[in-house]
């Protein structure tokens, strides 16, 4: 059922910060089609739908022209060879996708090899600059505060200015991690929280820190809670589904 609140411009503006998707080893094409169709039925104008490259044709069939399509590179562990990662990027550029994120080699982040992080970022940005919006994934949950700040500095040096904090899939973004990056970089980096974003209160907090993109598997529930706060629905009405 489509929530009646979707016609409210405040709800649509709120929805426009979200990425929602269907990713995972056991996900079938039928799963992707089902989730994409659910999004389309909802009438919500979210920012993008996330899927694996192998699922791109199915997602495009359902959502082409409705939502941007976001495909991650080397998701979720960043452990592909650099050569393979750049091949994935070239492939996605050829596919004309709308948005992407790139899982850095997390071993460089953990080892503090910031020159390698910058070099990897630069190779990616040299390929996709002006062709594809790209966020660099730093898997912040694996890092301490100093490493998170150094990682952001390294990707800035490499020419990127969007950071996806985590991949989800077991790695979630905390409020403190977003605070940290916001405090140190104050608008120089576009922060994309991802993973374990489940509540309206979390999203409120992120938005108060200037976040413009939020990845969440709970997008329908969060938007329903937002509509309820606006007085557009009662708790019993539930969300778009």
């Amino acid at each position: 059922m489509i929530g009646t609140y979707v016609t409210d411009p405040r709800v649509q503006a709120f929805a426009s910060v979200f990425h929602f998707g269907c990713l995972g080893e056991e996900k079938t094409q039928a799963d992707v089609i089902s989730e994409a169709a659910k999004l389309r039925r909802s009438g919500l104008n979210i920012e993008a739908f996330d899927c694996e490259a192998s699922m791109l044709p199915a997602a495009r069939d359902i959502l082409g022209g409705y939502a941007k399509l976001h495909v991650p590179i080397a998701y979720p562990a960043g452990n592909a060879t650099l050569k393979q990662k750049l091949y994935q990027l070239e492939y996605l550029l050829g596919q004309g996708i709308d948005d992407s994120c790139y899982c850095l080699d997390y071993s460089n982040l953990l080892e503090g090899d910031w020159e390698a992080v910058t070099a990897e970022t630069r190779q990616v940005m040299d390929l996709c600059r002006d062709r594809l919006p790209m966020a660099m994934v730093i898997q912040a949950t694996l890092l301490d505060d100093r490493q998170i700040v150094a990682a952001c500095e390294a990707i800035l040096q490499g020419g990127a200015n969007r950071v996806k904090m985590n991949t989800g899939y077991g790695w979630g973004t905390s409020l403190e991690e977003v605070d940290l990056v916001h405090r140190h970089f104050n608008g120089r980096i576009d922060i994309h929280p991802s993973g374990n974003v489940r509540t309206l209160e979390q999203v409120d907090y992120f938005l108060s820190r200037g976040v413009s993109i939020v990845h969440s598997a709970s997008v329908f529930e969060i938007i329903a809670a937002y509509a309820q706060r606006l007085g557009l629905t009662s708790p019993a009405e539930g969300g778009a589904s």
Binding site: G24, E25, E52, P76, Y87, S107, L110
Partner: protein
Amino acid sequence: MIPHKSIIAASLHLEPNRAAILRDIHRAAARGIRHVVVNENMVALAMAEVQSANLDVSVSGIVGYPIGQWMWPAKKVALDELSQIQNGPLAVMHGVGPWLDSTDQSAAELKGIADLNGAVWVMTSLSAIPEERLKALADDVAHCGAEVLILSNGVAASGLPLPDAKQISALAQHAGGRFALASMAPAGTPAETIATWLKAGADTVLCTDFWDLSASASDTGKESS
């Protein structure tokens, strides 16, 4: 204790740890464990250690781990690269989702694997596959010429459980000796559980805790192989 000949050492890290990989390479050699699998981006590191320390260990990088849903042409790029670096069999994770869908991409990947030169290991997620599809899985793996099918535990967050002894037994019957089964045992898997998998028909276990759970070749009086 698990006999060392029944173990493939796993040094797969979602939280990468280069020191642990180097340690595991030496530990495998010390235990007489022949094969070590690592993340594909850690093959060069592992091989440099094998060569500098002159260790009798074969290294394979699992391409596509831990989800397996990257496109085959991208996986092929990595397999071609690793074939020039590693001394172990090629290893690739086949995404179970596309396989369950019988997509063209899944078929293309299986054909691509069949066309590879040399020994190949395939990994996929048995727990996601219903019993009535096990024969088809076994036939596909056999047709693509894989020597070993690794039964992935996937990523914990996916919610997929480890394959149980009943699933392993059923798949072993369908495999019929056409390829070997290696069941994946992540950190913390009890030796008793591994023993039930081996009894059920797994030929080997891809074991993270191999150092704690294995007996050395000298302890058991067996030669390393």
